[in-house]
């Protein structure tokens, strides 16, 4: 799959700064149509910064980001996502004083209302728990429910590329499994392309077709999920002692 000519997303030499502090030091990576790609790395490596840079906030200082043939490096966030990118960001960012329903409606903000009921039924099928919570405020949901809602909200925009930032963070193993199963199902059944950022390297590499390793703002390794899982450096740094 990595031989494909036109990646859906291509990141080239991207450098991102917070003020004078460098967070990404020239990142290169691709995501092809139909793939699940993961970026693993320790806390503070720059994974979330990469996710947000793809969406234009913060903006890359150098380098280029091309999505579906369009250079999105300098586009404002709301235009980038209107091209079919959806993100479930770090910390989930559920609107706390909106109901589950309203959060989902926000997800569908750019979509023709005619699809709403159909899409709603789809995400409820994926996460039946959300349906029970439909009129509950986002801020009162449990962590697992918020994560499901964040993914469901992203799906409501009918994305071609789904960006997931640490969906497993702080969740019980059973919920993590539910969420990862849902991601796999979306990819296999709907052909949804997924870019997943994780500290939980074991699960992420097992799920993903390909993976990258990020260290201190640089991509240091790449390969198929299975290859990376076997690498000694990966095992030592991200798996040993942390096996799930």
């Amino acid at each position: 799959m990595s031989e494909q000519k036109n990646p859906l997303l291509s990141v080239r030499g991207v450098e991102t700064y917070y003020g004078n502090i460098v967070a990404l030091r020239g990142v290169d990576m691709d995501v092809h149509r139909g793939e699940i790609v993961t970026m693993i790395g320790a806390n503070g490596a720059g994974k979330s910064t990469l996710m947000m840079t793809i969406c234009g906030d913060p903006r890359a200082r150098n380098g280029q980001i091309v999505y579906d043939g369009v250079d999105i490096t300098q586009m404002p966030t709301h235009e980038i996502v209107s091209l079919g990118i959806a993100q479930s960001p770090e910390g989930r960012r559920i609107f706390p004083r909106m109901t589950v329903m309203e959060n989902l409606q926000m997800g569908a903000a750019l979509v023709d209302p005619e699809f709403f009921d159909e899409d709603l039924a789809k995400v409820f099928k994926l996460f039946p728990r959300l349906k029970e919570r439909i009129s509950q405020r986002g801020g009162t949901l449990s962590g697992g429910e918020q994560q499901m809602l964040a993914i469901a909200r992203a799906l409501m925009s009918r994305p071609k590329l789904l960006l997931l930032d640490e969906p497993s963070l702080g969740l019980a193993p059973l919920i993590v499994k539910q969420i990862f199963d849902a991601i796999r199902e979306l990819n296999e059944k709907e052909g949804l392309t997924v870019f997943l950022v994780e500290q939980n390297a074991f699960h992420a590499l097992k799920l993903a077709h390909r993976g990258y390793v990020m260290v201190n703002g640089n991509v240091t390794m790449s390969g198929t999920g299975a290859e990376l899982l076997k690498k000694e450096e990966v095992r030592a740094a991200y798996l040993e002692g942390g096996r799930h």
């Binding site: 709301h78 960001p89 960012r93 706390p96 909106m98």
Partner: protein
């Protein structure tokens, strides 16, 4: 008793005007966390534009049918104040977004001074009168030997009804429409709203425009109710409406309405039972007391924890 009912009616009328202005404060605060100190002056230019438009229509064009005149006056005043609200946000606040918190507050005060001085220079410092346009009313209670009769003027009915309709419409807009949802989303998490495709800058601009349009309605009401305006009415009404917004819980729409009514009632009852001279002091004292003892206001939400 009659006196009390009469003050109640007067208080609700005045409170309606404060409530309409307070919405502008509370919505702007909600969405960008800033007190728009130039908002009271938007109300003031709303009143001036209404007066100018009224005179142009009646004397230059010879319109006589009052409802049509008032409707045109209202629409024109709303258009001008909206344009002003939009411009102020664009020129004075947006470039400062992301800078330190006091910066837009300082430009807000600057915009307020600019507007006041502009009106003072072009219109003069003296009060501008408008003869009463809507007279008469209903007598609710006949006065007896030792009581006054209670009057509900048509003007008061119009003000209270218009306010009820506007607030109901506005509540629906905020709670039920996609625009209102986008506004609330920007209030709660601007970054996330942008990630969902919301044009945050445009949503903020629209918030200023809505607040300014409501202030124009309040300006016209004030003009018709009191019959005199000057360049300074925006300051006093602005501070009281701001107090109303804080009392109701800044950022809360129903809070602004409730706060407006309460401030109107307090001011009127204070003048009626204690002293007219100190009615402004009453409003300012309430502001101080609320800020000290009830900083999140009557209906304000304490910050919901984000997990």
């Amino acid at each position: 008793m009659e006196y009390f009912v009469q003050q109640l009616i007067n208080g609700l009328t005045l409170g309606s005007i404060y409530g309409l202005i307070a919405i502008g404060y509370t919505m702007v605060y909600g969405i960008i966390g800033m007190i728009n100190f130039a908002h009271g002056d938007v109300f003031m230019i709303g009143a001036f534009i209404a007066l100018a438009m009224f005179l142009i229509l009646t004397t230059v064009f010879g319109f006589v049918f009052l409802p049509v005149v008032l409707l045109i006056v209202l629409i024109v005043a709303m258009i001008f104040t909206s344009a002003w609200g939009w411009t102020v946000e664009r020129l004075a606040y947006r470039p400062l977004r992301g800078s330190f918190r006091l910066a837009p507050l300082i430009t807000a005060i600057g915009m307020s001074i600019v507007l006041q001085n502009f009106v003072q220079i072009t219109q003069g410092a003296r009060v501008k009168p408008l003869p009463p346009q809507i007279q008469g009313g209903i007598t609710l209670m006949e006065g007896g030997a030792n009581s006054i009769s209670v009057q509900l003027s048509y003007m008061q009915i119009i003000i209270i009804l218009t306010t009820i309709v506007l607030m109901a419409g506005f509540t629906l807009l905020i709670t039920r429409t996609s625009l209102g949802r986008a506004q609330r989303a920007c209030e709660q998490d601007r970054k996330m709203a942008a990630l969902l495709g919301i044009n945050v800058d445009r949503t903020i601009s629209l918030t200023f425009v809505m607040g300014a349009a409501l202030a124009a309605v309040a300006g016209l009401m004030f003009l018709l109710l009191y019959g005199v305006i000057d360049f300074y009415i925006g300051f006093l009404a602005g501070v009281k409406a701001f107090t109303a917004a804080v009392l109701g819980g800044i950022g809360s729409l129903p809070g602004a309405m409730l706060g407006g009514l309460l401030i109107g009632l307090i001011e009127v009852f204070w003048s009626g039972y204690f002293s007219v001279e100190y009615k402004d002091v009453a409003a300012f004292s309430i502001l101080a007391i609320v800020l000290i003892f009830l900083p999140s206001g009557l209906l304000g939400q304490p910050e919901v924890e984000k997990v």
